[in-house]
């Protein structure tokens, strides 16, 4: 426990010294929110028009969706790159030789993901609150709970990527690719209703799609049911495979 706290604290400081990841995790979701908000406004679709954004205004749709997106940004880009890079350079081996356990390494990643996602999420909410008028959350405890679940699930996914990808470059490339696919097709980019069937099929395979549904459930008071099961499944499988393939060097 002691090790976990120490390691998490150091890892958090290291994270904040990495300008690229900080930019990605904190600034990018904000920028995209403002671009999309500027483009789409926040008028719900009217009866008779094509239904988009599940029937709510764009900003009301995007704010919860972006709470899910910030978690994904932190976990899918920075965790795999960081882990694979540490393994590649011999940092993990150095830790291993000094009695750090795999659980502590994973736990520290999770903790950092939690803290950074929370900061990023709060920034996003403050910015959205200042700039836009949107519907408040249906259930605040629900939002907090889902947020925590998303951090755990995405962190597991990120740790899995970091465990199987051999180098920092590979991890960064794959992380970026997954992130962009999720951004466009995972329900946090164009309204899902305008995607083609083929795109929708891809959406179903991205964890973000299900994460956005879950966040919408608690924010808008909907019920996406299956999304919870699928996201939970992705998290459990990722965690299992991540542990299975974790290597110190």
């Amino acid at each position: 426990m002691h090790t976990l706290v120490r390691l998490s604290w150091v890892e958090l400081k290291l994270f904040l010294r990495e300008p690229l990841t900080v930019m990605f995790s904190l600034a990018l979701p904000l920028i995209i929110l403002f671009v999309l908000g500027g483009v789409f406004g926040n008028e719900p679709s009217q009866p008779g028009e094509q239904l988009v954004y599940r029937g709510v205004g764009a900003i009301t749709y995007y704010v919860p969706a972006y709470l899910a997106l910030v978690v994904a940004s932190v976990c899918v880009i920075s965790i795999p790159t960081h882990l694979a890079g540490n393994r590649e350079r011999g940092v993990l081996k150095r830790f291993h030789a000094s009695s750090v356990t795999a659980a502590a390494v994973a736990g520290a990643e999770l903790t950092v993901a939690f803290v950074v996602s929370a900061i990023s999420g709060v920034l996003l909410l403050i910015a959205a609150q200042l700039a836009y008028d949107f519907e408040p959350a249906d259930s605040i405890p629900g939002v907090l709970g889902v947020f925590a679940l998303l951090v755990v699930g995405f962190a597991a996914f990120g740790i899995f990527l970091g465990a199987v990808l051999p180098t920092a470059r590979a991890a960064q490339a794959v992380g970026m690719l997954v992130w962009f696919v999720m951004l466009f097709l995972g329900g946090a980019g164009p309204p899902p209703e305008v995607l083609t069937d083929a795109m929708r099929t891809v959406s179903d395979f991205t964890p973000l799609w299900h994460a956005v549904r879950m966040m919408h459930d608690v924010w808008l008071g909907l019920d996406a049911g299956l999304a919870w099961v699928i996201f939970g499944g992705i998290a459990v499988v990722s965690a299992g495979l991540g542990l299975r393939f974790f290597r110190w060097e």
């Binding site: 002691h2 090790t3 120490r6 290291l14 011999g90 081996k93 150095r94 030789a97």
Partner: protein, 300 residues
Amino acid sequence: MAPIVEVEHLAKSYGSFVAVEDVSFTVEEGEIFGILGPNGAGKTTTVECLQGLRRADGGNVQVLGHDPRHEASQLRRRIGSQLQESALPDRMKVWEALELFSSLIPQGPSWETVLEQWGLSEKRDAKFGSLSGGQQQRLFIALAVVNAPELVFLDEMTTGLDPTSRRATWGLIRQIRDNGSTVILVTHFMDEAEALCDRIAVVDDKRVVALDTSEGLIQDYAGESEVTFSTDCADLSYLLRLDEVDRLERQGRRVTVTGTGALLARVAAELVGNGIVPPDLEVKRASLEDVFLTITGEER
């Protein structure tokens, strides 16, 4: 006193590639024990098996009374490691590394003391990535001793360092021993092994091919040495009766005696006993490097 490290017929393969075939040695408490050998001989693999970082496939290993295969975590608390290939995150500061590593196994001196002791105070706030090679090694030594280990593994400490830093590092290695730790030092520098190690295991082609003090290795493997001196005395035949002496040649006043073993001492004693005290008595003997090349079968 029982040895603190016992290795018997250690074997380790990576897939079907055999990296270590048959390595045996023991290390006594308080020694600086050298492992010397050419690239790819299996030195790193051997010490990593001893530290429980790799799992040996065969043989028996006891380190501080632990079997590294089953008790790696207990063992790691009691040893310190400097790995051949490892690093810290570039943006980690020197003090952060020391604080973190000392908190992992909190049984040694405070990290501030260690910082001071290993001459890192000046670099306290420097990031790992900004340190020179020598400073990084100094930090790695500090990290290796931050838990007050009983046994310290150093794998190629001085590769890539300039001669001054190498000598400075030797001083640090002696300091580790003087602080009460036993040291296992992997190197392929002969002068380093000769200067630092109490005993040396020469590893070549996946096995230990020789094990002795550097003196002993030179004695056993160096073959002949030569003693030269000048004298006017005509009869030196008594020298040829010494076991150590093989040949004697004269060139004017100059005498060259060739032989093995403790040649110099024997010849000198015999000369003095016969009333000859040459002022220019010299010995030319093989260095550890010659021995190494002989043992590992590489020609110059």
